[in-house]
Symmetry: C2
Subunit: 203 residues, 2 copies
């Protein structure tokens, strides 16, 4: 897939997915009467039917790439077509072993009222540490362990996550990172990422 | 809120939220032409507008309870009104310190193609361990640390998560649990949960 084709598809599916994210928030906050709820359900099913009229070939397992990086539509953290994803936009450092992301988490990511669900903090950090370890998903790696230390509550709103590879020992990469709001770090993370046996060179 | 009122609202909002989950999956898989995408977007915005016509009072901070347990509409793991949540339905053991959940994760929870995102595994385990530690969210607790060991990949599909309190030392509860598919454990988790200072008795 060329960069132009990628941009074309992102422009086609990005706004649609954002409309679904807006709908998710509207469901959280609605106090509509039953008739309005029924009307909304009908409109939602109409939309889903229109989308299902032509579907991607589910047996097609080709993975497209732009500039060597996989194109991820579905991914639960960064997928441009996935309304479950915030989505995170990952920025990579020039060193190829660090990255960061700035993003907003709204009510759909809530745990305790007003605060980000601790598990959503874990989701974000797992993803960002994995991106740092794999140089933007270009190296095959799997997560071995992930340790999170919750320093304080993470408020809903504007947040930043960052991660960097600390060192590499054989097939293991040791990565650390954190989640922060404007007042500083809220959750610290350490991860060990492992190169799978099939991708080990010279062993 | 009475149990009857809770059931009435769950019947009102549960199917609506499930329709939104179906829509999320339709967006992931669609190959519809631009005109159908535009029609879908218009229907989605119509639905959101109908829902926004009357909204819950955002300043209302009262937390309803059924049988002493908080009612969680928004929660990113279990919220009945939150299409981002799978949602998990948590079953509690009679001992008051263990729980489990059986659930299905579809394409919206994907990381590597065909596999659950590692961060979604972390989200599920954070939540289930927290439920065990807090006796179903009835005790005030916050997560101190969470450690995850990824034993192997977790396939999309039917899964089970479970957790139990191992021991309590002063204000700390030590909880362990795991995620599994039909072939056994895929991710192991250990967490330390801490009673906040304001809830400590006799200190």
């Amino acid at each position: 897939m060329s960069a132009d084709e990628h941009d074309r598809l992102a422009a086609l599916y990005g706004p649609l997915t954002q409309d679904v994210r807006d709908l998710i928030e509207a469901v959280l906050d609605t106090d509509a009467d039953p008739a309005s709820l029924d009307a909304a359900r009908e409109a939602i099913r109409t939309a889903a039917d229109a989308l299902r009229r032509r579907q991607r070939d589910p047996t097609q397992t080709v993975r497209y790439a732009v500039g060597g990086r996989p194109v991820v539509w579905n991914n639960a953290a960064i997928g441009l077509r996935n309304a479950v994803a915030p989505p995170l936009t990952i920025q990579h450092g020039d060193d190829g072993s660090s990255c960061w992301s700035e993003f907003t988490l709204g009510a759909a990511y809530e745990g305790p009222p007003g605060w980000v669900h601790g598990g959503v903090c874990a989701l974000v950090l797992d993803h960002v540490l994995g991106e740092a370890a794999s140089a933007g998903l270009t190296k095959p790696l799997f997560t071995g362990t992930l340790t999170l230390r919750f320093v304080r509550g993470t408020p809903l709103g504007r947040l930043r996550a960052e991660a960097a590879v600390e060192r590499t020992e054989g097939v293991k990469s040791f990565v650390s990172g954190h989640l922060s709001d404007t007042d500083g770090v809220t959750v610290e993370a350490e991860g060990i990422f492992i190169t799978p046996a099939w991708a080990r060179v010279g062993e």
